[in-house]
Amino acid sequence: MGGDAERRAVITGIGVRAPGGVGTEAFWRLLVSGRTATRTMSLIDPAPFRSRVAAEIDFDPAAEGLSPEQAATYDRATQLALAATREAVASSGLDTGRQDPARVGVSIGTAVGCTASLDQDYQRVSDFGSHWLVDHTATVAQVFDYFVPSSIGRDVAWEAGAEGPVTVISTGCTSGLDAVGYGAGLVRDGRADVVVCGATDAPISPITVACFDAIKATSANNGDPAHASRPFDRNRDGFVLGEGAAVFVIEELAAAYRRGARVYAEVRGFATRSNAYHMTGLTRHGREMAEAIRAAMRQARRDGADLDYINAHGSGTRQNDRHETAAFKRSLGRRAYEVPVSSIKSMIGHSLGAIGSLELAACALAIEYGVIPPTANYEEPDPECDLDYVPNTAREQRVDTVLSVGSGFGGFQSAAVLCRPPAKAVAP
């Protein structure tokens, strides 16, 4: 890479469906307000569970333009992805009908796919767990789409008119970073000119709530749901399960400028490493995440001094927040103490595979608006987490270079670097 032939991947469209309001604007308003969208779980009956708080979307399929059939048969993760895709494509101003479809790709991340619909199907075919040889006559026609979450990629491809490379990336809770990293790579490598990429998850279903209960990963702060997600705070007690989708239109920089597109940010660096340690556990040293950060910064040709903001994974589990604090120090040295770090999971919860893309959306908007979203519910410092976590109040500040990181079950550690796009004058 290098020289005149270098292709650069930039974000020209953003679509968001997140707890707290419909669309990208509502998402950003929530984040800069420092208000939280966590509440007592209402999508399912919370009574049987240890953790009964969640960050839910008040999602109205009809208002989103989905047909009654789509609303009835598509998994909620697919519906969120389609709504976010429509907003992203519309906001990009790209006329997809005029693109060569073979040059349009899709890369969508999801951690648990259509699990919620599978859970419902299971209840029907097994008569609530009463037999192992389930009843095939009780299943629904669309169940194969739930069985293979690649169906989400298909539906986004159809929505976007994509006939180039299409894939679903499922790397647990780093899916949303990894799918965008892969999508930007398609543009940089010249395998596509436009990539619709992002991530979706709608995991608030009994089986998923139960599986996190089983390992006490989620917060049991049921008495105070609005303040249950407490990243980096000394009294944090686990993450708050959320749902959402964020989708981007990513294009090659020169082509984006040629058509007069609004360019939000450049995806300049991405790297992922694995801790090879434990399927759900994290080390204290954060060495592998530090390596991912260094590799992503190297690819972006940026160093710690350039960083204006770090969007943390900040899930609010005991182990995560100290793990990544250690990783920031290990990769950035003294600079880690100077760069503002915040976790928007304090406000919109942890939507598993989707959150990495939602966080990248927040990063792109931080560059666009010159505001750093805060870490809400931050009250009591933890001696093991001693960085500047932007407590409770958004900070106005020019933002040119942002690092966003994620950790996932399976050991995945990913990092992405977004930068303010270059002035049009220098574009070819």
Binding site: V125, S150, G190, P206, A214, I215, S274
Partner: protein
Amino acid sequence: MTVTAGPAVEGADGRRTGPARAVVTGVGVVAPNGIGTAEFWAATLAARSGIGLLQRFDASAYPVCVGGEVLDFDDAALLSQRLLPQTDRMTRYALAAADWALADAGLDPAGLGEYDLGVLTAGACGGFEFGQRELQKLWGTGPERVSSYQSFAWFYAVNTGQISIRHGLRGHTSVFVSEQAGALDAAADTARLLRTGTLRAALTGGFDAPLCPWGLVVQLPGGLLSTSRDPERAYLPFDADAAGYAAGEGGALLVVEREDTALRRNAAGIYGRIAGHASTFDPRPGSGRPPALAGAIRGALREARTDPADIDVVFADALGVPDRDREEAAALAEVFGPAAVPVTAPKTLTGRLYAGGAALDMATALLSMRDSVIPPTAGTRAPAPGPGIDLVLGEPRETPVRNALVVARGAGGFNSAIVLSRYVRSPHHRAVTRPA
């Protein structure tokens, strides 16, 4: 992977050369007709099928009762007591295959840098039997009975994570989910990461094992599974009597390395190299335009800088559904000319393995290259009318295989194609010699 110029590689003689090539040095297989590469390959050449009446559960009440089960896999001998309760069947297969592929390559991960080795797998449906069991606990008894391993044993990323932990692989890891097509995309991304220097070696491939009661039932409404109760007639791609496919379980993993890394450590053998890849997506229904499969094949050939005439065998997707078989035959005829290249589908001996299918086809293609023999398509007898293809039937066909094309299509419209080429040492590596 001609499009991304990676960092120049220093050849063994010190000259700087072009981007590194991705070579396959190890293979690990778990398939319904053979556990381990040798057993699988012998069965494949002898046309011994792993498709039978389902035995693991009583499927007699279901409209489909045939499939390719892995019946003699000895979990307890291959995996520790600690791993058994936390793994679905498909993860156990993947862990065994990873062990075997690394042993076959003679690759000791400790011999490379900490972040030099990665894992890129494909998964289509996750640890489904594990999921059914935990859902039964959840709904039959209560949430407090759900396993503390459910949070990862069902999800699509589990095999990559478990393999990474087992062998201490800390480099780039990923998981591709595009039904049957994902394993080719994973292998191609592996080759790109090797080329750009992000990795020096990786395990890539895929496994699935959805043959439990609920795993079978969720596949029924699609109407693509054969309802034949005769295992020999349940999967007949390209046949006039084709009426769906048999589902199977298993898959394969490959060790892929940079050529310079493999030569420097005197790798015991190189099966071949990953030469080119492309993937496309079919137009949405109602567009009136043809499927995009031919575009994927052309793209893979272009990236491999290989002419259609130099492809010696095509491992077809071979869905066994008449209109889809016709589409595939038409795409092959469009690129290669009518009946111009031998086409085979040894997956007729295993059933379709979801994410494992294309991974196993890559392994089979490499073995085919090594031994200069094309394994036959079983079952199919009377080719369906339509675009002509030279389907290898009956006996294995002995012929040199310089370049093989593997085609995979995923439900919904995913098309992926990869070119594997016989390994010929790059000129700049001639200074490296292997021990006599």
